[in-house]
Chain length 250, copies 2
Amino acid sequence: MPVEKPRSEYRQVVALLRAAIADGEFPPGALLPAEPVLAERFGVTRATVNRALAMLRTEGLVRPERGRGTTVNELPIIRRESAGRQAQGVREAEGSRGAFDAEIRGLGLVPEAVVSVAEVAAPAEVALLLGVEAGEPVLARVREMSADGVPVQLATSYLPLGIVGGTRIAEVDTGPGGTYSRLGELGYAPVEFTETVRVRTPAEDEVVALRMDEDQRVFAITRVAVAEGGRVVEVNRIVAPAHQWELVFS
Amino acid sequence: MPVEKPRSEYRQVVALLRAAIADGEFPPGALLPAEPVLAERFGVTRATVNRALAMLRTEGLVRPERGRGTTVNELPIIRRESAGRQAQGVREAEGSRGAFDAEIRGLGLVPEAVVSVAEVAAPAEVALLLGVEAGEPVLARVREMSADGVPVQLATSYLPLGIVGGTRIAEVDTGPGGTYSRLGELGYAPVEFTETVRVRTPAEDEVVALRMDEDQRVFAITRVAVAEGGRVVEVNRIVAPAHQWELVFS
DNA sequence: TCTTATTTGTTCGTATGTATT
DNA sequence: GAATACATACGAACAAATAAG
């Protein structure tokens, strides 16, 4: 007979709760029983239940709130299609203001993006990629994106001031087609994109901006856009909760 | 003056330990002081230190072992280049037996792969992609890959028996260039690849095979290879510890 | 091989703090 | 203000794995 791997109680509670949620006993949006109640149900201490719930919170499956209770998250997973994302047709699609808008609308949610533009000192890693001195001023376009009011993605795009300084790219509204269309008009149309994907814990500011927990995980995507001739014209750093996204590459 | 966000003690300990590791006080491979020692150093209970170390373990930064102590992980981050990964030149490079081998060797580590082949009932999701009935037998090529003896990736490749049954693809050694070269000779050379990336907790068997903890995270990559004419010729499911890999797409 | 000390894993009971209702 | 509910911390105890003799 198969050997049963002995599992600690809190892991068993995790499995039981996960199963109960999957079975529909606690549907998305529902409030779970309070910790003392679950503790009695499973025959463990509240501390053990608390630990199990903390694990599920880290996975993004539930959201415990002090004084209120623990609710089951309704997480529509957002699919990010990387192929054709920068195609002009997609960028300029009617009603949509870019690939992100289209992705969120496709799920029946309301997208929103707050954009701010500033000149900042280039972070070391970005400077290296852009081919400028570390600390040298570059243009930073920061976008905070949300779906139905829930923040789901942060993106900071760094561009060399030598190319985009004084152009419409340095303004909040870059016009139809966005940054890439303007870059094309300046003779720096991106022809190649490289995206590097990592998973890590969020930084403190990301915890605040994305309203997530410190022990959850984020995708950290660095996209480098290269123009004809090999000149790097943009470095885009994207941060998004890992449990809410699915990345597709072709 | 700025408002200091009050942080729980265990999060402060996490930050302090992370800093100490980054500063080189505890270099890769080093044994950390025992939990009671750290508890005294930070002025907290062992339970708090234990919790902090559990977080660092989940991140893949340290590896606590009962009876032994807690060591700082030393396996470097492995970069997986997706572009050109299936190019014949890369696959057939001298000394390397594929993209994975080259990636691991590039880090100065010794790659190893254990391959097994079997006919299995197609999982529902795979069957849908391959265009066969769920449960219908398909060829499964399972590869367990490791670097310096540490398992770092599982890959299960599903192929339609109608195409590959009885060919060399159904054997453990597929010959120079591997599966894709053989598929080409059969008239089903893959011309398009789509990879879908998700992050999730590992399944029980993955925990065992990859020697990781239940509360760590894995990349779950599904690669679909399409031949000329739109026929799906392979579905490859790849699972790898998320903290050990960096994915690059072009 | 057996024993013992060390070290981490887990659970318990209790207490206190903080946010919400 | 009071009740409810989750967050964190402490101290203690025992289990399990490892290492040393």
